[in-house]
C-alpha cells in the first residue's frame, strides 16, 4: 500500500489567546490521489484544518505528516517553503491579486519560489486550454466573471503540480450548473498530475462526486463534544 499523503494523529491546534483547541483530531489518513469531501457548518474550523495542513498555522501537539513531510518538525520558514512546493490553495472568492493580469496571477507562485517558468510551460498551456482561459490571459482579473476567476485560481493552484490541492468552498459562489462542471474539470486536471484533493464545504449537494466523505464533526472531537 502506498504511503498516505496526509497522516494525522492526536493533533491539537489552539489559536494564541484561545482557551480551548480550535482543532483536535485523533486520526485522519488520506491516500494519494484521493478526492476527499469534508463537510460541516460554517465557522466549525474547516478552514483552520486547511491552514494547519498547508503549514500556515503550526499545531501545538500531535503528529502531522503531509506529502511525506513531518510538519511539526519544521520551522516557520520551512513550512512556508513546504507550502510553496506541495500545496495548491483555492479560496471561496477573491483568489486573485487585482493588480495583476490573468497570466501574471497564474505564474505568481512559480515566481515567488524563484523557479523558472520554462519547466512548467507545457503543463501551463494545457491548464489554460482546459480551463478555457486562452483568450483571457492578458486581461486584468478585475474584468473577469466569478466563474472565470475561480478557474484562474485553479490554474494557479495546479501549475506547480502540488501533492495536495486544498479547496475552501471554491464553488459556493458559482451557480449549481457551473458548480458540477467546474468540479469535474478540477478533478480531471488534478488526476493528470496525481494531486490529492481536499475539499471543504457546508453544502453536501456535491458529495456524490467525491471518493470519500467525512463529516467535520466526527473529525474534530472538541466541537462535536464527544471525547476529550
Amino acid at each position: 500500500m502506498a504511503d498516505n499523503t496526509i497522516e494525522i494523529k492526536n493533533l491539537e491546534f489552539t489559536y494564541s489567546g484561545g482557551l480551548s483547541p480550535a482543532l483536535s483530531i485523533s486520526e485522519l489518513k488520506v491516500l494519494p490521489g484521493q478526492k476527499v469531501f469534508i463537510y460541516g457548518p460554517s465557522g466549525s474550523g474547516k478552514t483552520t484544518l486547511l491552514e494547519v495542513l498547508s503549514g500556515v498555522l503550526e499545531p501545538q501537539k500531535g503528529f502531522l505528516k503531509v506529502a511525506g513531510v513531518d510538519l511539526l518538525g519544521l520551522s516557520n520558514s520551512q513550512r512556508d517553503q513546504f507550502r510553496a512546493q506541495n500545496i495548491g490553495y483555492v479560496f471561496q472568492t477573491f483568489n486573485l491579486l487585482p493588480y495583476l493580469t490573468v497570466i501574471e496571477n497564474i505564474e505568481l507562485p512559480i515566481h515567488l519560489t524563484g523557479k523558472t517558468i520554462k519547466n512548467f510551460q507545457g503543463w501551463q498551456k494545457r491548464l489554460i486550454e482546459r480551463l478555457g482561459l486562452v483568450d483571457l490571459i492578458d486581461r486584468s482579473v478585475q474584468n473577469l466573471s466569478v466563474g472565470q476567476q475561480q478557474r484562474v485560481a485553479v490554474a494557479r493552484a495546479l501549475l506547480g503540480k502540488p501533492a495536495i490541492l486544498l479547496a475552501d468552498e471554491p464553488t459556493s459562489s458559482l451557480d449549481s450548473e457551473n458548480r458540477e462542471s467546474f468540479l469535474q474539470l478540477l478533478f480531471e486536471l488534478a488526476k493528470e498530475v496525481g494531486t490529492t484533493v481536499i475539499f471543504v464545504s457546508h453544502d453536501r449537494s456535491l458529495e456524490p462526486l467525491f471518493d470519500r466523505c467525512i463529516p467535520f464533526s466526527e473529525l474534530n472531537r472538541d466541537l462535536s463534544g464527544v471525547v476529550k
Binding site: 491552514e51 498547508s54 500556515v56 512556508d80 517553503q81 477573491f94 486573485l96
Partner: protein, 410 residues
C-alpha cells in the same frame, strides 16, 4: 526580489489615488525642507559674505563689532575720524596691495551715502569672487556725480540723470539739513548684489568735501563725520595674506593716531553666530513639516492595510512567508519615499530656477540653483532612511497577523 519589486510597483500603481496623494504630500514637505535650507544658506551667505577679499578694515579706535557694523552693515555711528595722512601712510605700506577709503555719515532719504574713490568699484568684492558691475552708466568720479545701488534705484525710482540732494550728517532718516545748493546727478546704476551695496549711494571724496566745506561755513557746528581731509575708515588688502596678523598688530600700535584694525571675515562670522537662533528656528520648522508628512504616510499605509488583507492572505497561501509580506510593505514605503524624494528635489530645482531672479530682486537673496545636493544630502538621506523605516510599522502588523491568525480575513 525582482518579483517583489514588480509586485510592489504594480500594487502601488493599482492604488494610484491614495499613493499619489501620499507622494504629493511627502514631496511637498521635502520641497519645503530643501527650500528652507536654501533660504537659510542664502541668508547666511548674503550676510557673512557681504564683504570678501578685504583683509582688514581700519578705523579710529573702537570695538571690532562697531567698526564692522558701521562700515559694512551701515549700523551704529563713529565717534572719530582718521586723518588723510594716516590713510596715505598705510596705503603706501609695502605689504598693502590696495585700499578703499570710506567717508560715511551722510544719507539720502534713508539710504547711506558713501564717499569713496574709484577703488571701491575696482576692488570691492562680495561672496568670494563677485565684484561690482554697472547696470547702466558708469561709476561717477567727477564732482557732484553719484552712483546708486539697485535698491535705491528701485525704491526711489531713480534713473540716470536724476538730481539727488544729499542729507547732511544723517543716514537713517530724512536729515534736518539738506545740501540743497548742490544737487548730485545720477551717472551710474549698479547691478543688484544682495548686499548693503544695493542700499547705498556712492560719491567721490572730493564731492563730499566740497559739500561739507560749505555747510561748515553755514552752521559752524560739530559734525561726527568726515571733513577737513578726514576719512571714516578704509578697507585694505594685503599682497600676502600671511602678513595679516602682523599688519593688524602694527596698525593697532600706530603711534600717530589711535586706530583699530579688524579682520572682517572673523567678526562677521561671529555676528552671524549671534543670529544663529534664526537658523535653528528655520531648521526646526523644516523638521516639523517632515515629521507630519511621514506620520501621514504611515497612517495612509495602515489604513490601506485593512483593504489589503485579502492580498496578504493570497500571497501567504502561495507560500509567501510573513517576512516576505513584511518586506513587501517596507519596499512599498521605500518606493513611495524615493519617488517623493525625486519629485521634491525636482520641484525645488525647478522652482528655484524659475523664482531665482524674482527672489534676488525682491529680497536680495541669492538662491543657488542647479542640482547641487551638497549640504542637502544629510536631509535627503535622513528622509530616505526615515521613510523606509516608516514601512516597518505596517510591516510589523502584517507579520504578527500572518503568524497568529493564518489566512482568515478578519
Amino acid at each position: 526580489m525582482k518579483t517583489f519589486l514588480s509586485l510592489a510597483f504594480k500594487s502601488l500603481a493599482h492604488r494610484k489615488q491614495t499613493v499619489g496623494l501620499t507622494v504629493l504630500s511627502l514631496s511637498l514637505s521635502l520641497f519645503l525642507i530643501l527650500s528652507v535650507e536654501k533660504v537659510r544658506l542664502a541668508t547666511e551667505k548674503g550676510f557673512t559674505q557681504t564683504i570678501s577679499q578685504t583683509d582688514l578694515i581700519v578705523g579710529a579706535r573702537t570695538g571690532p563689532t562697531n567698526l564692522i557694523l558701521a562700515t559694512v552693515f551701515n549700523r551704529g555711528t563713529f565717534a572719530n575720524n582718521i586723518k588723510e595722512s594716516t590713510f596715505d601712510h598705510w596705503k603706501n605700506h609695502p605689504s598693502v596691495e590696495w585700499t578703499i577709503p570710506l567717508s560715511l555719515g551722510d544719507g539720502h532719504r534713508g539710504f547711506r551715502v558713501v564717499g569713496t574713490s574709484e577703488d571701491f568699484f575696482r576692488h570691492y568684492h562680495y561672496q568670494g569672487q563677485l565684484g561690482l558691475e554697472m547696470m547702466e552708466g558708469a561709476w561717477g568720479t567727477g564732482l557732484l556725480e553719484v552712483t546708486i545701488g539697485s535698491e535705491v534705484a528701485r525704491t526711489l525710482g531713480y534713473r540716470l540723470g536724476q538730481k539727488v540732494i544729499i542729507d547732511h550728517g544723517v543716514t537713517r532718516d530724512v536729515g534736518m539739513l539738506h545740501h540743497d545748493d548742490h544737487p548730485f546727478k545720477v551717472v551710474g546704476l549698479l547691478r543688484p548684489t544682495g548686499t548693503i551695496i544695493d542700499q547705498s549711494l556712492f560719491v567721490s571724496l572730493e564731492s563730499l568735501e566740497t559739500l561739507h566745506e560749505e555747510s561748515k561755513e553755514e552752521e559752524e557746528g560739530d559734525h561726527h563725520h568726515a571733513h577737513d581731509h578726514e576719512l571714516t575708515a578704509f578697507f585694505l588688502k594685503l599682497k600676502n595674506r600671511i602678513d595679516v596678523l602682523n599688519l593688524q598688530r602694527e596698525i593697532n600700535n600706530f603711534k600717530t593716531e589711535p586706530l583699530s584694525a579688524v579682520i572682517p571675515s572673523v567678526v562677521v562670522n561671529e555676528l552671524w553666530q549671534t543670529l544663529s537662533y534664526v537658523e535653528k528656528a528655520l531648521r526646526l520648522l523644516g523638521f516639523c513639516i517632515l515629521g507630519v508628512s511621514l506620520l501621514s504616510m504611515v497612517s495612509i499605509l495602515m489604513a490601506t492595510l485593512n483593504e489589503r488583507r485579502r492580498e496578504m492572505a493570497i500571497l501567504r497561501a502561495l507560500g509567501g512567508s510573513p517576512f516576505q509580506l513584511a518586506s513587501l510593505l517596507v519596499l512599498e514605503s521605500s518606493l513611495i519615499t524615493f519617488l517623493s524624494l525625486a519629485l521634491g528635489l525636482l520641484l525645488q530645482i525647478l522652482i528655484i530656477f524659475v523664482a531665482q531672479d524674482w527672489v534676488k530682486e525682491k529680497y536680495g537673496l541669492f538662491l543657488e540653483s542647479g542640482g547641487s545636493i551638497g549640504s542637502d544630502w544629510m536631509s535627503l538621506l535622513g528622509v530616505a532612511v526615515l521613510g523606509c523605516m516608516m514601512g516597518f510599522v505596517p510591516a510589523w502588523k502584517v507579520y504578527r497577523t500572518a503568524l497568529k491568525d493564518g489566512l482568515s480575513v478578519k
